[in-house]
Structure formats: C-alpha cells, structure tokens
C-alpha cells in the first residue's frame, strides 16, 4: 500500500484533489475549432474539384457557419483565460514550441478567408435560400448585411479581389484548415504531464473527428440528394478511420509506461468507461455508421438522426478527453 496525503492545507481550487482547470469552454472551443476547420476544408476542396455549381450547400451556404463558430470559440477561449485583460499578449509573441501560440495565430489567420469566402458568395447564398427555402429567416439578415457591405468603403473591393483570386486563396486556406483541425488535438498532446493526452495520435484523431462532424453538419443542412449521399460515404470513411485511431490510441497507451496504462484504465473500467464506449463509440460512431449504411442501401433514414449523433459524439468526445486527461497524472509518491 502506498498513499500520500497533503497535510499542510494545500486546498487550491482546480488543482486539488486533481487538476480540473480546463472545462466546458475549452471542450466547446476544441469542438467548434474542429467543426469550422472541416467545413472550410470541404468548401475549399470541392471548389478546387470544380463542383461550384453541383454542391452549392458545401461551397456556398455552409461557409456561413465557420466565421460564426470561430468567433464563438475565440470568445469562449478568452472567457476561459483567468487574466483575460492581457489576452493581447498572445498576439505580441509567437512561440514555436507552444501549441497554444500556434492556435491563437492559426485562428486569427483563418478568420480572413473564413469571412471573405461567404461574403464573396453572398449574392449566390441569398439566391439559393430564396429559391430553396423561402421561409428561412436568415435570408432577411443576409440581404440587410449585403446592402450594408456594399455601402462600405474598400470592403466590396477586397471581397471582389478575393473572389477573383479564389483559386489561390483555396490552395492557401486548405493547409491552414488542416493545421487548425490538427491543432485542436496537438494542444492537448503537448502536455507530457497528462499521460492520457501525451500521444501523437491525438492530432490526427481530433482532425478526423472534426472533419467528420463537419461532414455531418453539411449533410444535415443540405437538401440535395446527391450531396447528402456523398457526405454519407465520406462520413462512413471518416468514422472507420476514427475507430482505427481510437483503437491505436489505447494500444499505444497500454503498451506504454505505468502512467499511460493508468490513463487508459480511466476508459477501460474507470469512471469514463461507459460515457466513452457507449456514449461516444457505440451511439456516436457505430450507430450512425449503421444508419448510413442502411440509407445507402435503400432504407429511408431521416438524415438528422445520424448527423445529430455524430455532432453530439464529437462534442462529448472533447469533453471526455479534456476532463479525463486532467484526471490522469504521474504518480509522484
């Protein structure tokens, strides 16, 4: 038996009995970051594939989402800072070894194409919504925004310049979107002190999960049968990769040192077992995969069911990783 007890009244909030400094804000921030990265990636990728007119939801309408959720994510990040009045210090420094620094800069850089892309398609988006979904309340706001932007100085010229150079912009944006997606995982994996996180596979895993939630979101929003079917296939592929990464993450941890084996045990019999294997893997990955296979083989499944499950499991996955990681630590007896 080995145990240790702090006897001098160290009772610091968020640190004792175990670390719980990062919570809801960070988990949601990582979720929104991954989702935005995925939507931006799909829009740019399919644009370069020349599907501009075939996939209006992916390339045009859905791109309204990333700037909004990136801003929500940034607000959540700043709310989470304990010394938030000094947040601008993030933008006075670039520290190559700090993933947090990479993230702050990546989010700032990607904001430019994330905003300019939907602005440059605003006329098309309004037309699409009026035609396909006349009751949509967002259309009014978009028309108002469009009129406002056209009255501003310089902005219409910038938007037009962006639209003229869209191809180059897309080639530049895709790697930034991938960096953003990977960063949501690397942010956690850079912490050696938290054995659950300290795995290089977390970057690709969070990227896959983020792109998969983006595919689900676009699938849900689209009302084009062909587009939905394509995203069903993409999602099936991404879910398979995600499960493959999850298995390898646990294989790696179980083959690691004591601290990593103990971290894996949080999910293999420990407090996170049910939420992870039932909530995320079974209901959030396997079930939507089955539903999508059924859909592709001719059964009619309401599209929102698999899409909702994938989005929910993506969010839950980030909560579980953020909380579980802080519960894992080195044994300092």
């Amino acid at each position: 038996m080995n145990e240790q007890l702090i006897v001098s009244g160290k009772n610091i909030p968020h640190i004792v009995p175990h670390l719980h400094l990062w919570g809801t804000e960070i988990a949601l921030y990582l979720f929104f970051g991954g989702l935005a990265a995925g939507i931006i990636f799909f829009a740019n990728f399919f644009y370069l594939k020349g599907k501009e007119n075939e996939m209006p939801m992916t390339i045009k309408v859905a791109t309204l989402v990333p700037p909004i959720i990136i801003i929500i994510g940034l607000v959540l990040l700043i709310v989470d800072l304990h010394h938030w009045m000094y947040f601008w210090q993030l933008f006075l420094h670039f520290r190559i070894e700090s993933p947090m620094s990479w993230g702050a800069w990546t989010l700032s850089v990607i904001m430019v194409p994330a905003i300019l892309w939907p602005l440059s398609y605003l006329d098309d988006i309004i037309e699409y919504l009026q035609e396909r979904n006349p009751k949509c309340k967002i259309t009014g706001i978009l028309i108002w925004a469009n009129n406002l932007i056209n009255k501003l100085p310089i902005v219409p010229a910038i938007v037009k310049w962006f639209a003229d150079n869209r191809k180059i912009a897309a080639y530049l944006t895709i790697p930034i979107a991938i960096i953003l997606g990977v960063y949501t995982g690397i942010l956690l994996s850079a912490f050696n002190a938290r054995p659950l996180w300290n795995s290089a596979i977390l970057g690709p895993l969070f990227l896959t999960s983020g792109v998969s939630t983006a595919a689900a979101a676009i699938m849900w929003m689209s009302n084009d049968h062909k587009e939905r079917k394509l995203y069903s296939k993409i999602d099936l592929f991404l879910i398979a990769i995600e499960i493959f990464f999850i298995i390898h993450m646990f294989m790696g941890m179980l083959a690691g040192g004591v601290a990593q084996v103990e971290a894996a045990e949080l999910f293999l019999g420990g407090p996170y077992t049910v939420v992870f294997w039932v909530g995320i893997v079974a209901i959030g990955l396997v079930l939507p995969a089955i539903l999508e296979i059924m859909e592709l083989s001719g059964f009619h499944i309401p599209v929102w069911i698999p899409a909702f499950l994938i989005l929910l499991s993506g969010m839950l996955f980030r909560f579980v990783m953020v909380w579980g990681g802080q519960a894992s630590s080195f044994n300092i007896l």
């Binding site: 038996m1 702090i6 610091i12 640190i15 989470d80 010394h83 210090q89 520290r95 912490f191 002190a193």
Partner: protein
C-alpha cells in the same frame, strides 16, 4: 550557477513552518500556497509500514514543460535556473499548470499564474529562501549545484537521494534525501 534544493525526509517533522514562512514572505493570498507538506505512507502493516514527510514546491526543472508550452513567454527561466512568471505578460490560460507534473502552480486570485520563485529576491542578496531559513529541523538545504562546496552539493554527495517523477523527463532540481 544552478540553484537547487535538497530536502531531508529523515529530519522533517511536518510542522508546516516552511509553508507559513513562504506565505508571509511572498504575500501568498489566503487559501493558496507555493509550498506544501506531504505525508507519505508506504509498505504493509505491521511489518514494513513506514511514513515520512516531504516539503514540496516547484522543482525548478532543467527541462521546463511550463516554459515550453507558455504561449506568451510569461513563464521563463532566469539566471540560476529559477523558473518565474512575468505577471503582466501572463494571460492565465493555464497551459503551464496543465504541463506541470508536480501541480506546483496555481491561478492567483488576480488572474495570473503564480508559483514558487526560490525567493529570488532574497537569493540575489546572498540570503537563503524563506522556507530554508525558518526550518526548525534544518531539513531544507539550498544552494548552487555548480559550487562543489555549497551545502546542497555536499548534501547530495553525502546522502542517497531521489527526485519526484523522474520518468516525466523534466530533470527536477528538488532533491529528497533518504
């Protein structure tokens, strides 16, 4: 210059004097502490059970994950290997807290991240840290590892010692004599 601390687990009686001295010297807010006492119990009752006290604090590591993950450079290393935080560069993101295997840092009520400074303001004037000076059993030893005649160098030469979580690869500079 490489400042380090040795802590004699055979002499410590767990009085918490070092904790209070630090809180007083450094104006640590109520309810927080930069160093703390751990009572460690090990073995099997009744044959091999043993108990000892440890006075723990920031390990002022040679390989500092807290400085590496800091996005603004607020966490930094000063001469002698002391790890410090510049308050008005710190954004309070907590990356350093997440990266510390020893949980030696905390969020100050004013928002920035705070931690043990090895009393650099005293050390710069040739004094010992507050915790070392106040220890009634002389179980805390502070000094420069680069000086072979310093008290801490001699203590490490003459005694068996261990460090906490060496497998974390941080090369901690808080040595426990046993």
């Amino acid at each position: 210059m490489r400042y380090a601390m040795a802590m004699d687990t055979r002499k410590c009686v767990g009085c918490s004097d070092c904790v209070v001295a630090c809180q007083t010297e450094n104006n640590v807010p109520l309810g927080f502490c930069r160093d703390w006492i751990v009572e460690a119990v090990g073995g099997t009752y009744p044959e091999t059970v043993e108990m000892h006290f440890k006075s723990e604090r920031c390990n002022h590591c040679d390989n500092t994950p807290c400085v590496r993950t800091c996005p603004t450079g607020a966490s930094h290393v000063i001469e002698g290997g002391i790890v410090k935080v510049t308050h008005n560069e710190c954004i309070g993101c907590g990356a350093c807290i997440e990266s510390c295997p020893y949980d030696a840092r905390y969020v100050h009520p004013d928002g920035y991240i705070d931690k043990c400074t090895f009393c650099d303001h005293r050390v710069a004037n040739g004094m010992n840290t507050a915790c070392v000076d106040v220890c009634p059993t002389d179980c805390l030893i502070f000094g420069d590892l680069d000086d072979p005649k310093s008290p801490v160098s001699l203590a490490l030469k003459e005694n068996d010692w261990y460090v906490l979580a060496p497998e974390a690869g941080t090369k901690p500079q808080l040595y426990f004599l046993k």
